[in-house]
């Protein structure tokens, strides 16, 4: 459907920005993502899965990226990694793809409206949370190659 196409476009352009395509001319890199269960923060999960699979495949990347979802609740509190229920009740849900180099924003997608200050706060929170996710990447890769 249209929603899937839109998600594909977001994921594809994010991956294209990090994968060093010049080292693999005349090559097609296909990422197939199958949603097993959706309990909220789906897009962020897809982004994390994409990055880890690119790592696992051994493709040359300029930087790693991770997906973080922030939900802005009605009272103004920021909730990271919301469940499906929390997403529905939130005023706005913002998803960012944060690059590992200098924590820059690779991809941004918002649902619902928010003020500019709230967006900046969510972005700052997402950039802090990115550290935890990158640590998880490191641990997973270490576990995989330590055997």
């Amino acid at each position: 459907g249209v929603m899937e196409r839109s998600r594909e476009q977001l994921l594809r352009q994010t991956c294209e920005a990090v994968v060093l395509g010049v080292l693999h001319p005349r090559t097609s890199i296909t990422l197939v993502l199958q949603v097993l269960s959706d309990a909220g923060s789906l897009l962020a999960c897809c982004l994390n899965a994409s990055c880890m699979v690119l790592l696992d495949a051994g493709l040359p990347l300029t930087s790693l990226f991770c997906g973080v979802t922030c939900a802005l609740q009605l009272d103004g509190t920021i909730l990271l990694d919301p469940t499906a229920r929390q997403e529905q009740e939130a005023r706005a849900v913002l998803t960012f793809a944060i690059a590992s180099s200098e924590r820059k924003v690779l991809m941004a997608n918002t649902k619902g409206s928010c003020s500019v200050e709230e967006m900046q706060q969510c972005l700052a929170a997402a950039q802090r949370a990115a550290d935890t996710i990158f640590q998880f990447y490191r641990d997973s890769v270490r576990r995989r190659y330590s055997k």
Partner: protein, 275 residues
């Protein structure tokens, strides 16, 4: 320009301007035609034609009646559809809608939902029985970059032009009666305006890219703001990474653009309303 397009562009960008003479933060001339007399669609309930430089987008809104969904009995429907026919640019082939058209349709649907420009409850006529469905068809006639901005603007202008006939439900027969003589305009609560930027070489941001600039760019950002300065959408589909500060610059420019567009739309609406 044809052999080394990127170098050609870089030479202009170094001087802080672009080949068509615009500054980095300048928009192309925007013109909008609304309504049955100026815009060509006479069968639509509302229509608008927007030209952003060479990019031409036409939007037609048709209102039909339908039964509301079971779980939201007091809500109508708004169905946007963006079409990029093969006549607008040589890269679009005829056949099923490509990814760009589908992503644009999803984007427009998100903008309508996020900005709450039309509240679906307003489209309900009789709870659980009858509601309006607004089919918004946005067709690009000439693609020269910056499709999203033009589409959002065309949609807003067309919706402002929509006149819905009043519908009453006959108590005895249970059928709906449409009164074509008595028309009410649609209630538009918010006016979202989109501003698109192209990112060059990971650092430079230019506003309102043409098709040539979009091809050379390393990324795009689209910001949708409403009149209160709230962000309805930050759409950055991948592309080169940006810092928070650069995003903030984009947002400030988007807010200024919103004021310009709002003024233009108000002027045009005032010129077509019969006194």
């Amino acid at each position: 320009r044809t052999v080394e397009p990127l170098e050609y562009y870089r030479r202009f960008l170094k001087e802080n301007c672009r080949p068509d003479g615009r500054e980095l933060g300048e928009f192309r001339t925007t013109t909008v035609n609304i309504g049955k007399c100026l815009c060509s669609i006479t069968t639509a309930d509302g229509s608008a034609l927007v030209k952003l430089g060479n990019t031409t987008v036409i939007c037609g809104v048709k209102a039909e009646l339908a039964a509301p969904a079971a779980d939201s009995a007091d809500k109508g429907y708004i169905v946007p559809n963006v079409e990029l026919p093969s006549l607008c640019a040589e890269r679009f082939r005829s056949g099923p809608p490509g990814e760009e058209a589908q992503a644009a349709s999803q984007f427009i649907a998100d903008v309508i939902e996020n900005s709450q420009m039309i509240v679906k409850e307003d489209l309900c006529i009789a709870n659980g029985k009858l509601a309006w469905v607004l089919y918004c068809d946005i067709i690009c006639l000439d693609y020269d970059g910056n499709l999203l901005d033009a589409s959002v603007f065309a949609l807003l202008a067309a919706l402002k032009n929509v006149q819905l006939p009043s519908v009453t439900i006959n108590e005895e027969t249970g059928l709906s009666e449409v009164n074509l003589k008595q028309k009410n305009p649609l209630i538009i609560r918010k006016h979202p305006v989109a501003t698109s930027f192209a990112v060059f070489d990971d650092t430079l941001l230019i506003v309102d890219p043409t098709a040539e600039e979009e091809d050379l760019a390393t990324g795009t950002v689209t910001i949708v703001t409403d009149e209160e300065g709230r962000l309805c959408s930050v759409h950055k589909p991948g592309g080169s990474p940006l810092t928070g500060a650069k995003l903030q610059d984009c947002i400030t420019r988007a807010i200024t653009r919103h004021k310009e567009v709002k003024k233009l739309i108000d002027k045009v609406i005032k010129s077509i309303t019969p006194k």
